[in-house]
């Protein structure tokens, strides 16, 4: 059942559940944060509408800078502005930022400890028809390896909005991973959000769980649907929404592993270096636990609709079921 303490969206099980993109959640969050703090500035590299930074840019034209198609400049100009007391948000597609400009993010933002907020939209296979060149499956790995940074991958638009507001209030450089497509709303405005805190969003009605599913980003929805089906089969399962990937909520992950002894991780990202890798690094040192990883297996994406791609690359609900069967059978 959904964790009642978190005031989650009870309509999440409906086939007509409300859908909205996490990038739009970011755009709405930036507008609110920008209204609250006049030091917030927005910078964009010719993608102001697709990243949804237009909501901020239209309201605060004097605090918005259009840099043209120049993502390396985007990161470093933001660093310079941050050093003068601004809180810059930079938005682009994840493949360009933090993809194209990774070293600028490393050296001019993280090495300097500047509070630049990096928004990578269109992350994951769910980009769909644009094809493999645009499906960024490496950004969690690229960012979480950097010292000083915070990495957040919100599960839905509402969490993305809250994360955007929360990240505007911390000093750390921060990466926010957003998806292009509309995805199911899991949380509500009342659901608590705190950077660095994982949440158990689904749990057995009573007793201990025998399986833990840890998911991040819009993939959390797939994990929830699988959990609901497992529950009806009498399998006790907990689902964790791991929206902050760095700093990792090790205590929560270790506690889940101690309870369930079996973990499945789910993400729309390469398995190498991704969220599952972060979980594995944590557990192998603290509480070695059997893990099945759902993610892209060292391949690039291709054109197709998101459902076709999720099936082909084995990150859909069926793939999660198979991983669950496998891990429960040995």
């Amino acid at each position: 059942m959904l964790n009642p303490k978190l005031k989650l969206n009870t309509k999440v099980w409906n086939v007509d559940v409300e859908k909205k993109s996490t990038r739009l959640g970011f755009g709405e969050g930036l507008l609110i944060a920008g209204t609250q703090n006049e030091n917030i500035v927005g910078l964009c590299a010719d993608l102001v509408e697709s990243t949804k930074m237009n909501l901020f840019a239209d309201k605060f034209p004097d605090r918005f800078i259009e840099l043209g198609i120049a993502e390396q400049n985007l990161a470093s100009v933001a660093s310079g502005m941050a050093s003068m007391g601004k809180i810059p948000f930079i938005a682009s597609y994840a493949i360009y930022s933090p993809g194209r400009n990774w070293e600028q993010i490393r050296t001019t933002i993280c090495f300097n400890g500047e509070p630049v907020k990096i928004i990578g939209t269109h992350a994951g296979l769910s980009v769909g028809p644009d094809g493999g060149s645009h499906q960024c499956l490496e950004d969690i790995a690229l960012t979480r390896v950097l010292p000083n940074i915070v990495v957040i991958s919100p599960c839905d638009a509402i969490e993305a909005k809250k994360a955007t507001i929360a990240m505007s209030k911390i000093k750390s450089p921060t990466y926010l991973r957003c998806a292009r497509n509309d995805t199911s709303i899991i949380t509500t405005e009342e659901t608590p959000f705190e950077i660095g805190k994982a949440q158990i969003i689904f749990q057995p009605e009573n007793g201990l769980a025998s399986l833990g599913i840890i998911a991040t980003g819009p993939s959390v929805y797939n994990a929830l649907i699988v959990a609901k089906n497992l529950e009806s089969e009498g399998i006790k399962v907990k689902v964790m929404n791991l929206s902050t990937i760095k700093p990792l909520d090790s205590d929560a992950i270790i506690a889940l592993a101690k309870e369930t002894k079996k973990i499945v991780t789910v993400e729309d990202h390469q398995i190498s270096g991704g969220m599952g890798g972060a979980v594995a690094e944590c557990l192998s040192q603290n509480y070695p636990t059997r893990i099945e990883f759902i993610g892209v297996k060292d391949k690039f994406g291709q054109s197709g609709n998101p459902e076709e791609l999720a099936k082909y690359y084995e990150i859909d609900q069926e793939a999660i079921f198979r991983a669950v069967r496998k891990i429960l059978s040995n």
């Binding site: 390396q72 100009v77 660093s79 502005m81 003068m84 050296t107 090495f111 300097n112």
Partner: protein, 279 residues
Amino acid sequence: MEHLNEDKILELQIIANNIRKSIINMLCEARSGHTAGALGMTDIFTYLYFEALRHQPENPFWPDRDRLVLSNGHICPVLYATMAHAGYFPVEELNTLRKFGSRLQGHPHREFLPMIETSSGPLGEGLSQAVGMAIASRMEKGVDRKIYCIVGDGELNEGQNWEAIMLASKEKLNNLIVIVDRNFIQIDGSTEIVMPMGDMLSKFKEFGWNGEQINGHDFIQINHAIYNAKNNKERPYVIVAKTIPSKGVKAWEGNYKWHGIAPNKEERDMAIKELEKIC
């Protein structure tokens, strides 16, 4: 000021000579580092820290200060030595260059030395940061602040610079002053063989900048160019400063091999002796 008098020029020359001695000593002590660019830019750094910058060495975080971004971080011995001579920290500390625990890291690292404006080393990134500073500075009301950025000529091979150059022009950043160290050397040899940059000033002008080319060792020309840059309207300003790598030590001048090495004790003694003859 518009004109430098002779006493002032002599004073700057003496300071520059002392900074060169410090650079040679600290590099010899460190046993590694970049000699040619540091000595080549000494006159410009001397002018900036002793004449041009609005700053307070005893109060390095004064919010209204001008900003100086060193983009080609490998020439940091000249930054450190000039800052020490200007009173930011003791000259004796220069001997800790590149040593474990030192504030004077092999390439500038602001976590260790917070009074510098940014970390640098990986090339091509400083100009973008200076553009960001200039944009942010312009958003502040009532502050007349200049943002200076030093870039190397080889460094301008990096495409990111041209992204920044376009943005500075678009944003009409007349509070931004870029000084190109035009010394015609980079690690693999002559800039015009490794990657010809040709007429640097024309390139900037084509991108919408104002600017001029000067002899980077002539204080009268440096002074005049900075005066022009400070009073420039509507556009960012570039000063292409022709410099001689390893300027001040005849045996090393112009030789690209001194780009990335430090003098041994014998070479140090020879160089210091030569500089002692001046003052």
